[in-house]
């Protein structure tokens, strides 16, 4: 296992999130040092730091890119109870190695730390969902995509449980769906992954399912890119790595019903090879390979074989240089 690129991010504190943009040509990192950095792939194949700024007055938990159709947009959320939408200021072509990011709006509705922030899939327009430790999911929309400074609060969903992470279902053939994970430790028997769906008829978000059998605090959660599959894959990082398939039961009368079709949730895999807490999960673009990181300091890649059995196909050391020196 050789690493192609090592990048000195030079944050002053732990990096909490790293995000590629839609094309994989830009990177954003955020850290406990309250800053956000943006990196651009240069023509020399190296990442260049093109912007770095103090974004919040608390640890920045998550950073996420908007769809490029809406411009170069970043959203961050922080321990300081806010979420901020940033837009890159178009500057002189000659000075492209330093770009400037403007704060377009600050979303201050949360009373507690905002733990996750995600843009909705593009077909829903410019929507942004945040979840916070007070147990709320808030969904904002910029009605005018040309004006990023105006966001209206569309929905506020109360989960009644401290939220740690969330994920939009990226599929466009199904009604909007959000999965939320909780790191709540007070109720050991309560479910920790909730699934909300948007009901077109009542125009409200309703809780459609809770995932049974996940009772440990959830660190991260991610829907796989759907790619036209007949089911959705949801990975959950908790004490171990869990993968669920969610299938919408095909109901021909669905249009007539006021309730959404029931979801059929199946546990696909329970992977314990990290043997410690699993911290982050991420799907590749086709939803065929899952990458996870654990407290054991490794990154593991998982793939299903033709019979649907998930296996670890590779283990990468968190610091590959150490690995080499040992070998």
């Amino acid at each position: 296992m050789f690493v192609q690129l090592t990048l000195n991010a030079d944050h002053k504190d732990l990096i909490h999130d790293v995000a590629y943009d839609f094309y994989g040509k830009r990177l954003a990192t955020c850290s406990s040092d309250q800053t956000v950095k943006v990196w651009d792939m240069g023509e020399d194949g190296q990442w260049h730091n093109t912007a770095s700024w103090k974004a919040h007055c608390g640890s920045v938990w998550k950073v996420t890119w908007g769809h490029p159709e809406f411009g170069q947009v970043l959203a961050t959320c922080s321990f300081d109870r806010t979420a901020i939408v940033w837009e890159e200021l178009v500057t002189d072509e000659t000075n492209r190695d330093k770009s400037q990011w403007l704060k377009r709006t600050t979303l201050v509705d949360s009373r507690t730390s905002v733990t996750d922030i995600k843009f909705a899939p593009k077909h829903l327009g410019l929507q942004l969902a945040i979840c916070s430790t007070d147990g709320s999911i808030r969904i904002y929309e910029a009605p005018d995509v040309m004006n990023l400074s105006q966001w209206s609060l569309l929905h506020e969903i109360s989960c009644k449980i401290s939220c740690s992470c969330m994920s939009w279902n990226p599929s466009r053939v199904h009604p909007p769906m959000i999965a939320v994970g909780s790191d709540d430790t007070t109720n050991a028997a309560g479910p920790k992954v909730l699934i909300y769906e948007f009901n077109e008829n009542s125009r409200r978000w309703v809780k459609s399912e809770t995932i049974p059998s996940v009772f440990d605090p959830v660190n991260d959660i991610a829907f796989a890119p759907n790619l036209g599959r007949s089911y959705h894959l949801l990975s959950v990082a908790t004490k171990e790595l869990r993968i669920f398939s969610i299938k919408q039961q095909r109901d021909l009368n669905a249009a007539l019903q006021t309730t959404l079709p029931k979801l059929e949730i199946k546990g696909v895999a329970k992977l314990e090879e990290h043997s410690t807490q699993v911290w982050r999960v991420c799907w590749n673009i086709t939803g065929t390979i899952l990458a996870s990181s654990g407290d054991d300091g490794t990154v593991k890649l998982w793939k299903a074989n033709y019979r649907g059995v998930w296996k670890c196909i590779s283990t990468l050391k968190g610091d590959p240089k150490l690995d080499k020196s040992l070998a």
């Binding site: 990192t29 036209g228 982050r280 086709t286 054991d296 300091g297």
Partner: protein, 744 residues
């Protein structure tokens, strides 16, 4: 500093805290070894010191007498503070060793740790066991179940407090976050984590490495020392191009290119990307097959797209009329019907009446060196002589394959049921390794109608098996076999089953299953594209939508365009209408729309030559004013000529003669180079080619007084992989499509 301290138990009239200067002591001891080192400062007379730590370069904090925290400032002749002075620029934590807390002064005196990170702008007291001193603001209490052995701040990470309790194998790490938000003070958030440096053994103490990030030494009760590094929580992300990036600590990002990922060959995302670059799905079926030689199924299915309605063999057979049996040779019962005939054609065997298809298939197989398969097919079609010839030929080609031995054995065939030949072949055929040779002998030795051995052999091509079944199974058995086979194959997502299912409901389920298992949205999109793009089922629409999104992610816009073109070609009914119009700045009417309506009868010239001339005339007769209000068109900012378009003129004229359409596709329409284009912000513009040339060297608007940075507003520089030629090919294509649609 070279200054060392020691805390002592109280003895009468002695000091509890002694401070030495090591440097001086060393100096002294080298001078005269006999002279004992004396502490430079002695503090805390008659007091018991439980714990102490440096608090800044020149002050000490001590837990004293079970109840006090004292700070000694060494600069100022050991001034002692009882309690902590407000605004002291450090934070520290202390541990309470007792189980119960007395109400009066702090008992948290047994362990003290001062946060070494000077960047902290606020102070905080954390005492173990969740001891809080109400007189101190911003004090946080954490309660442990067991007495604390050691607490300390991580020297390389701010806000990270570690804590070890008695008889425990785990060290707890508390990551403390706090935001100074003025009067609206927040509870500090504490993220808790546990580590087990000794893999379960009880840890008696530990120590952080002063400079290496997150590294510590832990010692067990049995005095084993372990060097342990606390792994930081890693965050990671995938890019559209399958690059994986992950973090390590606070400084480093690692990224890994797709080629270096394990099982890169098996990675469908990479495969699809590579194939997309090779124009997979956009070419004719034969070329597609070349691109995906490793997905043989596709060739099979795309061979037959001309079949009416893409019906599968299964439905053909189900609906076909009952077959009658014919006995071409004395031994084998062959069934014939129209449906079977069609099925056999679909499988490539050709019809029974016409051997030429089969002959050419055999020839192709020989060319591909699949001698045994060719021989088996010949035998199944009851042409033993041909089979023997093929095997002999194969032997000549590969002398060590011993195909001639097989040929010899085959030549001894006798239909006699009781013959020695049959007996020997039946018993020996199980030792044969080649599935086709095996099937030859099982066919020749089998009782009539008992061909399960061949039909269930998974090593034999599915189309061969189906064609075989269509020849030799009676109606009932055939239907049963086909249904069974198709449900198995659909379950496996085996694309070869497309032969059976066709591309109606079952076929889509099959494609869906294949997609579910493989994630290969590209292949299913290509299938849909080349066969049933107008299909109303939501599933194919979703697949294609996702594939187009993938192409977008990969920035393969030209390919995406070509894909869309092919797609709309397949379903003209859903052809997107014109989306961009050029309107006159004065009257607001669409320029091209008007032109389309001009004098339609002129558009039907008597002969092709006439049209050609007319077309030439149209080229010269550029529209330089608005056809509606006769106001002039704007000028190009660069050449200052009037802009004009005549693309609309041509659209109105129906088909140009075939010669011009094929030979001179480019010139029959306005060249893209002379199209209108303008900046969406400053509204200045001109001919496309002029502007492209201008922006190659400039970034500002070409209009003299305009400071608009048109090019950079368009986000990126002109992508190098899109040439104006490529764009014009696409646009021309759209135009020709448009003509066809309008002329219908």
């Amino acid at each position: 500093m070279g200054i060392e301290y020691a805390g002592m138990d109280k003895t009468r009239a002695e000091n509890g805290v002694l401070v030495w200067d090591i440097k001086r002591s060393l100096h002294l001891s080298s001078d005269s070894a006999a002279q004992p080192c004396r502490p430079i400062i002695e503090l805390g007379l008659s007091e018991t010191t439980h714990s102490l730590d440096w608090l800044g370069p020149k002050s000490l904090i001590c837990g004293i007498n079970n109840k006090h925290l004292k700070i000694f400032d060494l600069r100022d002749d050991a001034v002692c503070y009882n309690g902590i002075p407000m605004g002291y620029p450090n934070r520290f934590c202390c541990a309470d060793g007792t189980k119960h807390q007395s109400t009066a002064s702090t008992k948290a005196v047994y362990e003290i740790a001062v946060d070494p990170m000077n960047e902290n702008r606020w102070k905080m007291n954390i005492s173990e066991r969740f001891l809080l001193d109400s007189s101190q603001p911003q004090m946080v209490t954490l309660t442990e179940a067991k007495p604390i052995v050691k607490i300390s701040w991580c020297p390389t990470r701010s806000n990270l407090l570690s804590c070890l309790t008695k008889d425990s194998s785990v060290i707890k790490l508390y990551d403390m976050k706090q935001v100074p938000t003025g009067p609206d003070e927040m509870e500090p958030a504490i993220m808790e984590r546990t580590i087990e440096p000794l893999c379960g053994a009880i840890c008696s103490s530990y120590s952080w490495h002063p400079t290496d990030e997150s590294r510590l030494l832990a010692v067990s009760e049995t005095n084993d020392i372990t060097d342990y590094t606390v792994e930081d929580r890693i965050t990671l992300n995938w890019s559209a191009g399958s690059h994986l990036v992950w973090t390590h600590g606070k400084k480093t990002l690692f990224s890994c290119s797709p080629a270096e990922l394990p099982e890169a060959e098996d990675n469908i995302a990479l495969q699809m990307h590579r194939r997309a670059l090779l124009r997979y799905g956009l070419e004719s079926p034969a070329n597609n097959a070349k691109i995906v030689h490793d997905v043989p199924e596709l060739t099979e299915k795309e061979k037959h797209p001309e079949q009416p309605g893409f019906r599968g063999i299964l439905s053909l057979v189900e609906e076909g009329s009952p077959s009658h049996s014919a006995v071409p040779s004395d031994h084998f019962v062959v069934y014939v019907s129209q449906a079977r005939e069609q099925a056999s054609q679909l499988c490539g065997w050709g019809s029974q009446k016409d051997c030429s298809t089969l002959q050419s298939l055999l020839h192709r197989l020989q060319n591909k060196k699949q001698y045994t398969r060719a021989a088996a097919l010949a035998v199944f079609n009851l042409d033993l002589r041909k089979a023997i010839a093929i095997l002999n030929f194969g032997h000549d080609d590969h002398p060590d394959s011993h195909l001639n031995v097989t040929a010899m054995a085959l030549a001894g065939y006798t239909p006699d049921k009781m013959s020695l030949w049959k007996e020997m072949c039946s018993s020996l055929k199980s030792q044969l390794t080649d599935p086709y040779i095996q099937s030859i002998f099982s066919f020749l030795t089998a009782d009539t109608g008992a061909y399960d051995e061949i039909l269930s052999n998974q090593h034999i091509c599915i189309q061969d098996r189906i064609a075989f079944a269509c020849l030799y199974l009676n109606d009932q058995k055939l239907l049963e076999y086909l249904r069974n086979l198709s449900s198995i194959l659909i379950g496996q997502g085996n694309l070869e089953a497309i032969l059976l299912t066709g591309l109606n409901g079952d076929g889509l389920s099959l494609l869906q299953q294949y997609l579910d298992l493989s994630g290969d949205v590209q292949t299913v999109s290509a299938v849909v594209l080349h066969t049933v793009p107008a299909c109303q089922d939501p599933r194919p629409q979703a697949w294609v939508e996702h594939y187009r999104q993938l192409l977008d992610c990969w920035e393969l816009w030209v390919l995406r365009c070509e894909f869309d073109i092919l797609w709309w070609q397949g379903c003209p009914a859903q052809h997107p209408g014109q989306q961009v119009f050029v309107s006159c700045t004065f009257c607001g009417k669409s320029v091209s729309h008007y032109l389309k309506l001009v004098n339609p009868q002129r558009a039907t010239p008597a002969n092709s030559l006439g049209q050609h001339l007319l077309y030439q005339a149209a080229l010269k007769n550029k529209v330089s004013c608005c056809p509606a209000c006769r106001k002039p068109m704007p000028r190009c900012a660069l050449c200052l000529g009037r802009m004009g378009t005549h693309s609309g003129l041509l659209w109105s004229r129906g088909h140009p003669p075939a010669t011009t359409q094929t030979s001179d596709l480019d010139s029959k329409l306005t060249r893209v180079a002379s199209w209108f284009t303008w900046c969406q912000t400053c509204r200045h513009g001109g001919h496309a080619q002029h502007l492209l040339d201008w922006f190659k060297v400039h970034s500002n608007c070409p209009v003299a007084s305009c400071q608009c940075k048109c090019l950079s507003l368009d986000d990126q520089e002109i992508p190098s992989n899109i040439s104006i030629e490529a764009i014009s090919v696409i646009i021309n294509w759209f135009h020709s499509r448009y003509q066809q649609v309008t002329s219908k």
